[in-house]
Amino acid sequence: MRYRTQAVAYPYWVVALLLYGLQMVFGLLAIVKYLGPDPIRAVLPFDVSKAIHTNLLIVWVLTGFMGAAYWLVPEESRTELYSPRLAYWQLGLFTAAGVTAVVGYLFRWTAGNKLLEQPYPVKLAIVVVMLMFLYNVGMTIWRARRLTTTEGVLVAGLAGAAVLYLPALLEFDNYTVSIFYRWWTVHLWVEGVWEMIQGGLLAYLLIRLSGADREVMEKWLYVIVGLTFISGILGTAHHYFWIGVPAYWLPIGGIFSALEPLAFLAMAVYAYAATRRSGLAHPNRMAVHWTIGSVIYSAFGAGILGLAHTWPSVNRWTHGTMITAMHGHMAFFGAYVMIVLAVVTYAAPILFGRPHEEHETAIGLWAFWLQIAGMFGMTMAFATAGISQTYLERIIGLGYLETQQKIQVHFLMLLATGILFAAGVALYIYDFFFLVPRGHREPTPWPAAEPVEA
């Protein structure tokens, strides 16, 4: 660790990983409810477990992003963080807001708006958290008078996420208008500014792990985020199919969301080129696993599987089926979960003052491969369920309930692969909490083997 205040990232990642574990509990519960009958339907119906499952994801990934920013910004700007105390308060407030929301859902306190279920006071608290974060990071960079492209893209992504959260505070009497703006938050997050964050973190990791030339990496980073926005902004239109908006959104959505995989493919080429040029000899091989994994899974999950059902004449039949869940799970995991875990895995040995080599444990490898295999299986289960559902319910005209009975077998596969995945998550958390701190020593100066500045 080059700067003492980078350690602020640690409690962020502790909270993030704990919530990641909790997310698994509610995900598995949701699968069991799909199999039914549901003995705890009166206490915890499906809608509550689903809302908690998705909200925990958003909260913990954002926590992970912010922790990663606190890790990365001092290093990039070559200074201590402006105010570690403010960062701790910010984490406290964000955790309190997240926990309040989750507990509130259990007691049916909800705004009932998909992915933006947070009740209004919680939404306001989130805005305050964002402002605290941006102030702290902004002051750090301003005082250092040094802003690299890598951190600039990362911080701009987080600032964009804060700005784009604002439409979520608006309310409209017209349901079509309210979902129109709901996508400004949800879509322009995950297919816009969050991709910037992913790109920034990826550039940082590739520079550190492969020792690739910073100038070259940052040059192409602009191309990646440029492609993201060129395709992603108008790509919002693929959420404007069939909801009561003008018909011109149909071809726009078709064409621009067909271009969206380009940004993800560009990231894959980016990583490939970096490793070709500079090799992957970094001793923290687990971090290399997660970084390369993230690039591959986001290209497949977010890019290809998104493309699979985004063309209007296809989406006409698949809209609102399990096909969407197929794309959503792998996209979020590949693009955002894996990039956070990559940064955490990269930073952990440095944080604990251990040599990078010791970080590759058998448990760490199992954690990686179980999540990879589990998510692949879950994606296939959602895909087969969704294809069957589309065919039986939408094309043949079978009733919804009869269709769900006929695709039960896919939910069994979902449960089996979901358990594998959750086991991988549990091992990752165990590895992070119990194995690493056992060798906890006072942070040593930057290890000699580490390329300090590529």
Binding site: K33, Y34, L35, G36, P37, D38, R41, A42, P45, F46, D47, K50, R108, T110, G112, N113, K114, E117, D173, N174, Y175, T176, V177, I179, E218, K219, Y222, V223, V225, G226, L227, F229, I230, I233, T236, W242, G244, V245, P246, A247, Y248, W249, L250, R316, H319, G320, T321, M322, T324, E393, R394, I395, I396, G397, G399, Y400, L401, E402, Q404, Q405
Partner: protein, 272 residues
């Protein structure tokens, strides 16, 4: 390419496409009132939207195809089921579905009569939004297509010929009016309303039966009366009626043209 050029690519690309997006958003606002019939957004519809959000409906159901995939899409539900049925259903879903049979069951929500009316008003408004022809064929909650039904492969909209029977059958499968959402034509399959497998035969027997007090004198007349005035004779069944009133929508006299009623009767008379 230099870093300066790639940076320009990023700024210019984002700026240009962002500006197009904003322009289209402004134009969409111009068109929202027509496309969504915003003049029909009454206070009841707005209140119903709040009920929809308060009850977290979207985390099981989809509406306009958006939401969760644990429960059926509700975009056209008021046209398929009608207000009377939905009212009875929302009071106690377990009367209509069984968790043992369907593996899942909607929880009974503690909704007041007024909230139920508002929710139905909201869903009814949503059902009239211009969705560019989506869904391409009706998404049914239940029914159809257990062996013996001819819904499989039947064209959703167009009739095979100009024959009244063919036109009637096509109309039967279409939403609105959504007859097939509640009535199967397979023997013994009671979806929500009674099976119409042998509707013509049953109708002929019913007009002769002593407990029939309606105005019809023959089978075709009985079928016509059942469509236009479902309460003229109420068939008994667990999901057919509530409080002695039929759960079938009673506004087909207004929403269907006389020619369409003729076609439906012509089709139903072929089910013997």
């Amino acid at each position: 390419m230099t870093k300066r050029q790639t940076r320009a690519f990023f700024y210019a690309g984002t700026g240009v496409f962002g500006a197009i997006f904003i322009a289209l958003t402004i134009d969409s606002h111009r068109q929202f009132p027509t496309l969504t019939h915003s003049d029909r957004i009454t206070p009841a519809v707005i209140a119903g939207k709040h009920v929809w959000h308060r009850q977290n409906c979207v985390n099981c159901h989809t509406l306009l195809g958006e939401g969760a995939y644990f429960a059926p899409d509700l975009t056209k539900i008021t046209q398929q089921r009608g207000a009377a049925y939905l009212k009875a259903f929302l009071k106690d879903p377990s009367k209509f579905y069984s968790e043992e049979r369907d593996r899942r069951l909607m929880p009974t929500l503690a909704l007041s009569d007024r909230e139920i009316d508002e929710l139905i008003a909201f869903l009814d408004w949503v059902g009239r939004i211009d969705t560019q022809g989506w869904p391409p064929r009706p998404i049914l909650v239940t029914g159809a297509a257990i062996p013996g039904t001819e819904a499989v492969g039947a064209p959703p909209r167009a009739a095979a010929s100009s024959d009244p029977v063919a036109l009637g059958e096509a109309l039967f499968r279409r939403t609105p009016p959504g007859c097939s959402a509640c009535h199967s034509t397979a023997p013994g399959v009671n979806v929500v309303g009674p099976s119409l497998a042998n509707a013509a035969t049953v109708a002929a027997q019913r007009v002769e039966s002593p407990d029939y007090h309606g105005k019809a004198t023959d089978a075709a007349g009985y079928l016509r009366e059942s469509i236009l005035d479902p309460n003229a004779y109420v068939v008994q069944g667990p999901t057919f009626s509530s409080g002695g009133r039929s759960l079938m929508p009673s506004d087909f006299a207004q929403t269907l043209e006389p020619r369409q009623v003729d076609e439906l009767v012509a089709y139903l008379m072929t089910l013997r």
